[in-house]
Symmetry: D2
Subunit: 129 residues, 4 copies
């Protein structure tokens, strides 16, 4: 089956090239980690922190999926040509409502040249009132 890459599997980046390669493929989940049950909150997913993934017809991020354990929550597809190559170009934000149980989120992103990449997991704790 397709390998699902994560920088944490490779260990520390050995040089600038690897640092760039790892960073610009890895989705990062940004959200609060404690949310009141039934409250609205935002989940933002961004590809990379400092480096920029190309966004061209033959090489682009095709989709990002957001998973809660084994359940798919959302999927966003991007079409090449609209998002030029520059930091912050691949970013999507969802509004969710916190369920009664804590969530364990992972994002997966697919690069048409370099395959599937996964984020670090993020636990969102459900807080009762």
């Amino acid at each position: 089956m397709p390998t699902i890459f994560s920088p944490t599997d490779f260990g520390e980046a050995k040089n600038e090239l690897q640092k760039d390669y790892f960073d610009r493929h890895t989705p990062v989940i940004h959200c609060d980690t404690q949310v009141g049950v039934g409250e609205l909150f935002k989940i933002k997913i961004r590809i990379g922190n400092e480096y920029t993934h190309p966004h061209e017809a033959d090489h682009h991020i095709s989709y990002i999926q957001l998973w809660n354990r084994e359940t798919l929550l959302t999927e966003t597809r991007f079409y090449p040509g609209i998002l030029p190559s520059q930091p912050g170009n691949i970013e999507v934000e969802y509004t969710m409502i916190m369920p009664q149980v804590s969530m364990n989120l992972t994002a997966l992103s697919y690069c048409t040249k370099h395959g599937l990449w996964r984020s670090q997991p993020v636990v969102v704790k459900a807080v009762s009132h």
Copy 2:
């Protein structure tokens, strides 16, 4: 072919029921209407303004597409069960970079029970510096 619904085709809502039905199916594009060429800007799409679409296994908003004229820019899929029924539950925000020519945006959304709905078009004017 599938009808693509828009409240503007039906004329004014005749009663509260129609107002609710139209509002909770129609995607609305929220973004600046003048953006500098090459600048980052946000496009938010929300279903409805005041009413709430259900989000259940047999009745939910399945996807939202964002089009620039005849070109598909993005598509987001939502899975039932994660977003309870309450205003603001269907909302997604993208970060884009303004191209050299003005855009004419339309959002389409698909409800598993009531078909395809389209937003009012939004023109985003490209401003040179």
Copy 3:
């Protein structure tokens, strides 16, 4: 909103170029038009009859949707690079089970350069035993 093209809207093709352009974008539904209720049957969708759509990174058929009136039944996405340019390259076949009521099928296909195209409608009559 995005125009949804169909050769029937344009009238007869005026020359070889138009004939090619219309044919290689238009999805065609192939299936029986009378099926017994509860019976398995095949629905094949093919882009074009005689001409060939390119299948390259910056110009390809991205997806085909199959609709029954206002209800989406299936969607298949194709990724560029795997299907070279040659007749019969864009084709997908589903196995369905005939519901109790007749269906009115339409296929939509999206070309990354030339937008959304729709098939001729195909009515599949439900036959009781």
Copy 4:
């Protein structure tokens, strides 16, 4: 990240219940394993062999992806309600053209209740003439 299930990870099914559970979730790739370079050939993906996956609003196979190593080739989405519960209900067939190098195919399928499942890999050898 989401676990990707395969019966081969669990070992032999211990009883009828497990046999059913494994079979009706696992995609199986059906195609020739030696194909001439540049020749058209069919790839069929079917969920299960003997058992039947439900196809209901709150429990259905949502999509099937076909991968060649780390590259996504196709993805088909199924909507609940059209394919009743009976063997052979989840099946899709693609027409492909054999590339110059052998392929190592895997199918992934997503059940809205029981997550991601992967097929056994299938190697398709490229034969020169």
